[in-house]
């Protein structure tokens, strides 16, 4: 095991909530939020410390969490079964606290590729993937993913052969999805950590395939 070392393409430190955006001009949206925040604190609804603590908690949600789970599932069939039958419990096994109401894992197969959208808003498994990417919350993705998924995937550079079905899963606040990509060929000798490094955020949404091993 590599301990804390991981070779992901997403750098956690870049996203740490450690500073204000002092180089950016204050927008009306930010001013309105700051007004809301100051009143909630003054009125005793919440404290600044509670907000800071919750931001730190939220930072634990990152694609690395889903990658750890899927890599474990790839090497441990019993864990895979548990993840498919109870995703939140499988997360807890790896020390991940999933705050979502319900999580369901869906496995890609040679005959069926799966992708996730939330057509109504932006429901997303934040505990396992962090905040949703810009494409996921865009009106274009929300509109088109259910109508022409193959075409949308091609825009992401993913060409799913016609012989493979595509299933699109529409998330909501009560049920959010995690896609388990297929383990790439040629990864038989890789460690669990090295496998996790192949699993990208977008591959867990079904908009990418895992990285091919070097």
């Amino acid at each position: 095991m590599n301990g804390d070392e991981h070779n992901h393409d997403h750098d956690h430190d870049d996203h740490a909530p450690t500073r204000e955006d002092d180089d950016l001009e204050l927008t009306e949206g930010e001013a309105r939020f700051l007004a809301l925040k100051s009143l909630l604190i003054e009125q005793g609804v919440m404290t600044a410390d509670e907000i800071r603590a919750r931001m730190e908690f939220n930072e634990r949600g990152s694609p690395h969490q889903a990658a750890r789970m899927i890599a474990r599932a790839w090497v441990d069939p019993a864990y895979k079964e548990r993840m498919l039958s109870d995703t939140k419990a499988a997360a807890a096994e790896l020390g991940i606290e999933a705050t979502e109401a319900a999580l369901v894992t869906i496995e890609n197969t040679p005959k069926r590729h799966n992708m996730v959208v939330c057509t109504l808003c932006s429901c997303y498994p934040r505990s396992l993937l962090g905040e949703p990417p810009a494409f996921y919350v865009s009106k274009a993705y929300r509109s088109r993913a259910v109508r022409e998924p193959r075409k949308v995937l091609r825009e992401f550079g993913v060409d799913i052969p016609d012989a493979v079905d595509i299933a699109v899963h529409d998330s909501n606040a009560d049920l959010r999805y995690v896609i388990m990509p297929m383990r790439p060929a040629g990864t038989e000798g890789l460690s669990e950590d090295d496998l996790a490094a192949l699993i990208t955020r977008d591959s867990v949404v079904g908009c990418a395939l895992p990285v091919e091993p070097a």
């Binding site: 909530p17 700051l34 509670e50 939220n58 865009s138 088109r144």
Partner: protein, 105 residues
């Protein structure tokens, strides 16, 4: 016939899906954390928050952004519930915008 909700855009025609990532701003992270706390503390529940977004006028919704909608929906809901006073909130927001700094909080 029931009108479609403004949020019900699945299947509608639309342009290219944006491929560029955009990092969350600091205040957006603070906002999500504060909204999480409002739920954890039982001040608001998800479904009533969703309702405030669904009630947005179609034109407003069409021109809104992801974080902008969340903020506006939550402000409307907190005013509706009496947690926020509308005039006090507007005055505070104007003061902060006029000052143009983040120092007061």
């Amino acid at each position: 016939m029931v009108d479609k909700l403004v949020t019900d855009i699945g299947g509608e025609p639309a342009g290219a899906v944006p491929q560029e990532d955009r990092d969350q701003l600091f205040w957006e992270k603070q906002m999500i954390a504060a909204f999480n706390l409002l739920q954890v503390k039982g001040v608001v529940v998800t479904d009533e928050f969703r309702r405030t977004v669904e009630e947005m006028p179609a034109e407003y919704y069409a021109n809104s952004t992801f974080y902008g909608r969340r903020l506006d929906g939550m402000i409307r809901l907190l005013i509706e519930k009496g947690v926020l006073d509308a005039d006090t909130f507007d005055k505070r927001a104007q003061e902060i915008l006029a000052a143009g700094t983040r120092d007061h909080v």
